[in-house]
């Protein structure tokens, strides 16, 4: 049945039901019309709900009538505009947190989150997080304004989602993603976030996460990362990392400590030790895998394309370098000592 016909049938059903017992529609009935792309032609793009995406949201668990409770069986023939619940009716803590910041003066919840497609942060990639922000904030202007004080602003905005600096969090994690590397003869390779289909093509009959999680235990070890990286380029893949807050907050602000580079570019016993790897799933979500703590970021071959200056240095290389410097310093010391001890041999007669 074509979309137009289904829309017509829906309208007919509503018309026939007119004057009958008015009751609330269920989600299936709502989707009958609103998940049909034909509704765009009939009433506008705002009426269309992508059924597949909606089904993956937590909101699908409560169903359409929970938020649009005023919709009767006579809809849309009753001419009434459907009621909409406020986000704060359920997410009252989050709303209160958000309202406390200046961002609330400029945007409401639905300016950033489409309630029919919203996903938890855990299943969203870093680039997807930033796309929400660039919906309003022009990326070029943001890059220019950050470039006035931040070195390599493009790199920082690629590797650090906006919320990492503009919301407070108890801690931060390094989130790795798989990128597809397309070799272009005569030019540099082109890289982009890998899709599930691209990874599936590489993985063959195996699940895509087995590309990295070789033993399928759900935890990425240092050995597994090394094994992945050894063959990654040959398979057109690589890892890319971003710094993410470990708990997402809605308190948007310009935090004073973020002006200091050492907030990220410093190394202490607890800095940059926790990391995750997100692998895209068939349903479009990212599945996060825990990565072996600490050592991964120090490993030269653990994360070849992620380097947080001052924070993720490799200790072995540091020692080799310092030995080279020490050897350079030892030569004058040793030669100078012998030179002093044998000085009488060089006195001109």
């Amino acid at each position: 049945m074509s979309g137009a016909k289904r829309w017509g049938v829906g309208m007919l059903a509503v018309a026939l039901g007119w004057g009958g017992v008015a009751g609330a529609m269920d989600t299936g009935e709502c989707q009958g019309c609103h998940a049909d792309p034909a509704i765009v032609k009939e009433g506008g793009g705002h009426l269309y709900i992508d059924g597949a995406r909606y089904e993956r949201t937590a909101h699908a668990d409560v169903g359409c009538p929970s938020c649009h409770e005023g919709v009767s069986d006579a809809h849309p023939g009753d001419g009434l505009r459907p009621t909409r619940a406020g986000c704060g009716d359920c997410h009252d803590d989050t709303e209160a947190e958000y309202r406390a910041g200046r961002h609330a003066d400029w945007a409401g919840c639905t300016d950033c989150h489409d309630p029919h497609e919203v996903k938890p942060t855990e299943v969203v990639s870093g680039p997807e997080l930033n796309r929400v922000c660039t919906g309003c904030h022009d990326l070029g202007a943001v890059t220019a304004s950050h470039g006035a004080w931040l070195l390599q602003p493009e790199l920082h905005l690629e590797a650090v989602p906006c919320i990492t600096c503009h919301t407070g969090a108890p801690g931060y994690v390094i989130a790795f993603y798989l990128e597809r590397v397309e070799e272009r003869p005569g030019r540099g390779p082109r890289v982009a976030l890998a899709t599930h289909a691209e990874l599936a093509a590489v993985a063959g009959t195996e699940r895509v996460e087995r590309l990295v999680d070789g033993d399928a235990d759900g935890i990425i070890s240092l050995a597994e990362l090394r094994a992945f990286n050894r063959g990654a380029r040959g398979r057109g893949l690589r890892l890319w990392g971003m710094v993410l807050p470990d708990r997402v907050s809605h308190r948007y602000a310009t935090l004073d400590d973020r002006w200091d580079c050492t907030f990220c570019h410093a190394r202490g016993p607890e800095a940059a030790q926790v990391s995750t790897l997100s692998v895209p799933q068939a349903d479009g979500r990212q599945r996060r895998f825990e990565v072996e703590r600490g050592a991964v970021l120090d490993a030269l071959y653990g994360t070849p394309d992620f380097y947080l200056v001052g924070a993720t240095r490799n200790d072995t290389l540091s020692w080799i370098g310092l030995l080279i410097v020490a050897a350079g310093a030892a030569m004058p010391l040793g030669h100078g000592t012998l030179r002093f001890l044998t000085r009488n041999n060089r006195r001109e007669g």
Partner: protein, 222 residues
């Protein structure tokens, strides 16, 4: 008594280049240490200031290198003659010079076998070291530095050469070689007939050379 001649060994352009380079490399060593070890080395305090200074010094050294290369390759046309050791120098000269520095020098029984002239300023050991430093390490440290300074715009090339960590590792090890070179270079410069004999020509251009080896047209008897 040993006859000494004054030889005009180092032209003004080369002296300016040398000291600019020296200042740049020392700045790079200090700021580079702070960038890699922010929790231990905080010479400048502000990390961003250290990065900016490191980048600026890196650009100065890179431009300086290009000027040096251009001067010797296209103006003086003595790049190969001065900096690339000949086969004979590699076969016997390096050993002879090494024996002098690490054996005969202490015994005081033999003179330095090498006498610089404007056409042949560096002994075989120096030539070999400079060949590695100026023709291999410097270009590599500049290229890795430029890539690290421009990761986003040059991201394709960063990926092509092996990734950020490889670049950072190579840059770090090359920087350590430079740091070690500075120690050795400065010390060897004190091995003239007086401790400052080799420093003076890098400041005034003129060096007092022992023996009669100085055959340059600028040389004159002291």
């Amino acid at each position: 008594m040993q006859v000494r001649q004054r030889v005009y060994l180092t032209p003004t352009a080369v002296r300016i280049w040398h000291w600019l380079n020296a200042l740049g490399i020392l700045t790079l060593c200090v700021t580079g240490a702070e960038l890699r070890f922010p929790e231990y080395a905080a010479a400048l305090g502000d990390y961003k200031a250290a990065v900016r200074l490191h980048n600026a010094a890196g650009l100065v050294v890179a431009v300086s290198y290009l000027l040096w290369f251009g001067y010797y390759a296209f103006v003086a046309r003595t790049l190969i003659q001065l900096y690339v050791p000949r086969r004979e120098e590699l076969r016997t000269g390096v050993v002879r010079q090494g024996l002098y520095y690490f054996f005969h020098f202490f015994r005081g029984t033999r003179e330095n076998p090498f006498h610089p002239t404007p056409q042949n300023k560096f002994n075989p050991l120096q030539k070999t070291a400079y060949l590695a430093i100026m023709f291999l390490c410097t270009p590599l440290v500049i290229v890795t530095g430029v890539l690290l300074m421009n990761v986003a715009p040059l991201r394709d090339w960063v990926v092509a050469v092996g990734g950020l960590r490889f670049l950072a590792a190579a840059h770090w090890l090359l920087a350590c070689i430079f740091c070690a070179f500075v120690f050795v270079h400065a010390y060897l410069a004190t091995l003239g007939h007086t401790p400052f004999a080799h420093f003076k020509p890098m400041w005034t251009g003129w060096e007092e050379v022992e023996g009669g080896g100085a055959g340059g047209r600028h040389s004159k008897a002291a």
